[in-house]
Amino acid sequence: MYIVAVTSCPTGVAHTYMAAERLERAARKLGHTIKVETQGAMGIENALTGEDIARAQVAVFAAGVPVRNPERFTGLRIVEIPVAEAIKNAEGVLAGLGG
């Protein structure tokens, strides 16, 4: 499965990147492909392109603040979870996406 994700937390300093790391590792373990865009204190990094989104089956938002440029994802199934959840239980979250 091809998954796109956005992580973002209020201070944008640590949790944003921890969540990204956990999602990436979990995806590798489960045999999925994932691209994670981080929206942190340094701005938007590893931005998701139109192509990425078109390829994806599902988007995961692990955010404590509203995701920026959400209109990109219209038409795609979006699963929203707290940032903490992505850190605590990334595998569970991805496994539960189905498909």
Binding site: V13, R25, M42
Partner: protein, 842 residues
């Protein structure tokens, strides 16, 4: 036929005790009657009464008139005009600094905010933390038997008053002699001068004549003047009312039966004094061995009591409404002189908090002392002696406490001021000898009398001049006052037998002056030798470089002097032809003027070429921003105000000669002072980019048991390392984040973090715990390691954000976390944290 002088009152703090006494001193020396009228308050006062002058409630800018009537009124007017124009403003130069008021809303530390103890807020006026048993004191005047004893005739009551006032004066005189601190002595002197004040005396006698007994008369007089001062609308004057009530209490105490009437003031164990108010004499009478802290409901930062508390180093909080009712006597109380809090019946949590705070303050003091003991060194090991400027023995003690490596300038003028006759040779010898003893072998430079028509020294009879700073002053007037200068030099020579002293000559403009002085020194040395009096036969003599002409004949002077010290304030003023006190042109004064920097470079280079050392004792030498310039100029010594010694040593430590030389070259090419300042600021900013983490902010095996304790310990680590300026505010910011979602991310790790304007340096601090702590973590497990990330508010610092983002990712890796937890020491943790980009191979 009277003369008048109209003026706007010049001093910012108003006409308070010090300027009033100064005017009084002059008025008393003149024959005419002098009256001051304030046109705003419509009050009048004889200029011979300091009290009456203060009671005019004169504020900055008030329209006033001095009426002068008498035989010498023309000369008197000239003198007074000169005083008003040039001298009065300098009265406030020595006003002691109160701790800067905390700006913004004060955030109570979490441990206190969440406790059930009674926390009272006030204004901190003397730093430190005290914990002891409360001792509640009644205000002196209220505790005395005010009911009249047998009341006699007017003559009898006046006689009783006389005797009582004389006894009080004698007692205060005794206390003055035993006073260790100059501040103590000065305050007692001020009280004694009130006793002698003719208005004070006159008022009491008037009350007696109108039928009151001596006791009631004194109380009524005190109330009369205190009432006026309280109405003044000036906090400073209101605090003087406290002084008056205390003097009244002393007189009444004598009238009522002498010392038997004074309330119990003996402390027999560690105690904290709680009272509505406390007069300075009362404070002095309390046993200082046992007095650990003071909390008052009245009073302010500039009251004499607060000043004494600071001088004695006793934590003190004032303005705590109702403190004498709310704090139970005989029970434990805490006085927090850092935050301005008084805590009655402290709970175990509060006690634990203050134990941690006290340990931290002790650690900070020890660190400052240790650093203070170190020599001034640049980053690449170049020596730059950091000494202190002083004006009195108190300041000498303070200087060495602050880690000064010597006394670079002892201003002797204060020894000559405020007296009717010059200090004798013996009087001066005591001061210089004690200075040499306190210095214990460290260098001491004593500057001979540097005085002119601008400072009021009546016995010198210096005529008023149109241009005192270009006039008959300092070395130029020595030939006209041989007795005075010889006494001073003999005193310095005799004191040099106790320890190494050097002599420095002010305001030299040519070689002849130096030669004449050298000849004088040689003659006096011979005199002392023939008298068999010990002295240093090879005493070093140097000169101040303040007149620009000297800069161009350093080669000639170098043959006659042993060293040079740059008086940058006056040198810059003469060089740029600017009076920095003149608001119209003050903006032209700057020691960063490129021409001035080139001048300094020339002086140092020329002096070194002739193997003579060069120091600096003006304000520029104490300017931390200028540190790289001072280093690159090649100065051998800096002499500055004591409290800045440690900061300056630290600033120099951060300087490398190569960088500093580059900066100096750029500064010399700049076209104005503002550009030079900008260069200096940029240099300082670049140096702020200190390492994200260091061993001194990592603590392995911490004993903190709870999340609260751990967060406080982490912030304290940053505070001790000088990375945050307001630990309470940073702690509050961390808790705001913590309360949104716990930063315990699982896997035994917590990452409390915040961005705050109170963080001075981006930092990562680490604690590992002996036993896991409950952090309400995401996975419910205890936390074994807490990593604090504290960032500055300013954007730009992406490099640090990148490192932290990478660190956050690595913390998700089992191997990395385990390696951190298994680290043997703080340095290993720091090394692993700061490792860049090691993602490969995972």
């Amino acid at each position: 036929m009277a003369s008048r002088i109209d003026f706007a009152f010049p001093l910012p703090l108003g006409l308070h005790a010090r300027p009033a006494s100064a005017l009084c001193d002059i008025a008393v020396s003149l024959g005419s009657r002098i009256t001051l009228t304030n046109h705003r308050t419509c009050r009048q006062a004889s200029a011979r009464s300091a009290l009456a002058l203060v009671a005019t409630l004169t504020r900055h800018g008030d329209a006033c008139t001095l009426l002068v009537a008498g035989e010498d009124e023309v000369a008197a007017c000239e003198r007074l005009q000169h005083f008003i124009d040039d001298e009065w403003a300098r009265c406030d130069d020595q006003v002691p600094a109160a701790p800067a008021a905390r700006e913004g809303v004060r955030s109570l530390p979490r441990a206190l905010a969440s406790s059930r103890a009674r926390i009272l807020e006030g204004t901190p006026v003397s730093a430190g933390i005290a914990r002891a048993v409360a001792f509640v004191l009644e205000p002196w005047l209220d505790a005395l038997p005010l009911a009249e004893l047998q009341q006699g005739s007017v003559a009898e009551e006046t006689d009783k008053l006389d005797r009582a006032m004389r006894r009080v004066d004698t007692d205060n005189g005794e206390r003055q002699r035993h006073a260790v601190h100059e501040t103590e002595r000065a305050i007692l002197a001020a009280h004694r001068s009130i006793l002698e004040d003719e208005e004070w005396r006159g008022r009491i006698e008037a009350e007696i004549r109108s039928g009151r007994g001596a006791v009631q008369a004194v109380v009524a007089a005190a109330e009369h003047f205190a009432g006026i001062l309280r109405e003044s609308g000036s906090t400073y004057l209101q605090e003087r009312a406290l002084d008056l009530r205390e003097i009244a209490a002393q007189i009444v105490g004598e009238l009522a039966g002498g010392t038997r009437a004074t309330p119990a003031m003996t402390l027999d164990a560690a105690a904290i004094c709680i009272a509505p108010s406390l007069g300075p004499t009362q404070l002095i009478s309390l046993d200082r061995q046992h007095l650990k802290g003071i909390a008052l409901s009245q009073g302010g930062a500039t009251s004499h009591t607060a000043i004494l508390a600071r001088a004695f180093g006793i934590p003190c909080v004032v303005g705590v409404a109702g403190v004498e009712r709310l704090v139970p006597g005989g029970r434990e109380v805490i006085v927090d002189g850092e935050r301005g809090l008084v805590i009655a019946e402290p709970t175990p949590a509060v006690l634990a908090f203050y134990e941690a705070e006290t340990r931290k303050l002790e650690a900070m003091r020890a660190r400052a002392r240790a650093f203070g003991a170190e020599p001034g060194l640049t980053a690449d090991g170049r020596r730059l002696e950091v000494a202190a400027n002083v004006g009195s023995l108190d300041e000498v003690r303070l200087a060495f406490e602050h880690g000064a490596e010597g006394i670079g300038l002892f201003r002797t003028e204060l020894l000559f001021m405020g007296r009717d006759a010059p200090p004798s040779e013996v009087e001066q010898l005591e001061v210089y000898a004690e200075t040499a003893r306190l210095a214990a072998g460290r260098p001491v430079i004593i500057r001979t009398l540097d005085i002119g028509g601008d400072k009021p020294i009546p016995y010198l009879g210096l005529p008023p001049e149109a241009n005192p700073f270009l006039g008959f002053r300092a070395v130029r007037m020595y030939a006209a006052h041989p007795g005075i200068i010889e006494a001073q030099v003999r005193a310095i020579l005799r004191a040099s037998a106790v320890g190494p002293l050097k002599i420095m000559l002010p305001m030299v403009c040519c070689l002849e002056e130096v030669r004449a002085f050298r000849a004088l020194v040689t003659r006096l040395q011979a005199e002392l030798a023939s008298e068999g009096v010990a002295h240093d036969p090879a005493i070093e003599v140097g000169i101040m470089v303040e007149i620009p002409s000297v800069a161009f004949v350093v080669d000639q002077l170098a043959h006659e002097v042993d060293f040079f010290s740059i008086g940058s304030n006056d040198l810059a003023q003469y060089f740029l032809a600017v009076d920095r006190d003149n608001p119209a042109v003050a903006h032209l004064y700057s020691p960063f003027h490129p021409a001035f920097l080139r001048l300094l470079e020339k002086i140092v280079t020329d002096a070194h070429r002739h193997q003579k050392w060069v120091g600096i004792c003006g304000e520029l030498g104490g300017n931390v921003l200028a540190a790289p310039l001072l280093v690159s100029l090649g100065l051998d010594e800096l002499s500055l105000a004591s409290p800045n010694v440690a900061t300056m040593k630290a600033a120099i430590r951060g300087c490398e000669m190569a960088d500093c030389r580059e900066l100096l070259a750029a500064a010399g090419q700049a076209s104005n002072a503002a550009d030079v300042e900008a260069l200096l600021r940029a240099f300082a900013e670049a140096r702020k980019d200190r390492s994200l983490s260091a061993a001194d902010i990592v603590h392995l095996g911490s004993g903190s048991h709870t999340r609260d304790e751990a967060i406080k310990e982490l912030v304290d680590l940053l505070h001790l390392a000088g990375r945050v300026d307001d630990p309470d505010a940073v702690e509050a910011a961390l808790w705001r984040r913590e309360e949104t979602t716990s930063t315990g991310v699982g896997f035994g790790v917590a990452i409390p973090h915040c961005r705050s304007p109170h963080v001075g340096i981006d930092s990562i601090a680490v604690l590992t715990f002996a036993t896991g702590i409950d952090w309400a973590s995401l996975d419910g497990e205890p936390v074994e390691m807490a990593i604090l990330i504290a960032l500055r508010e300013e954007a730009g610092g992406d490099a640090h954000l990148r490192m932290i983002a990478a660190l956050s990712r690595r913390l998700m890796d089992d191997e990395f976390r385990n390696a951190l937890l298994a680290a043997r020491d703080a340095s290993e943790i720091v090394a692993r944290l700061l490792q860049t980009g090691d993602e490969g191979g995972r």
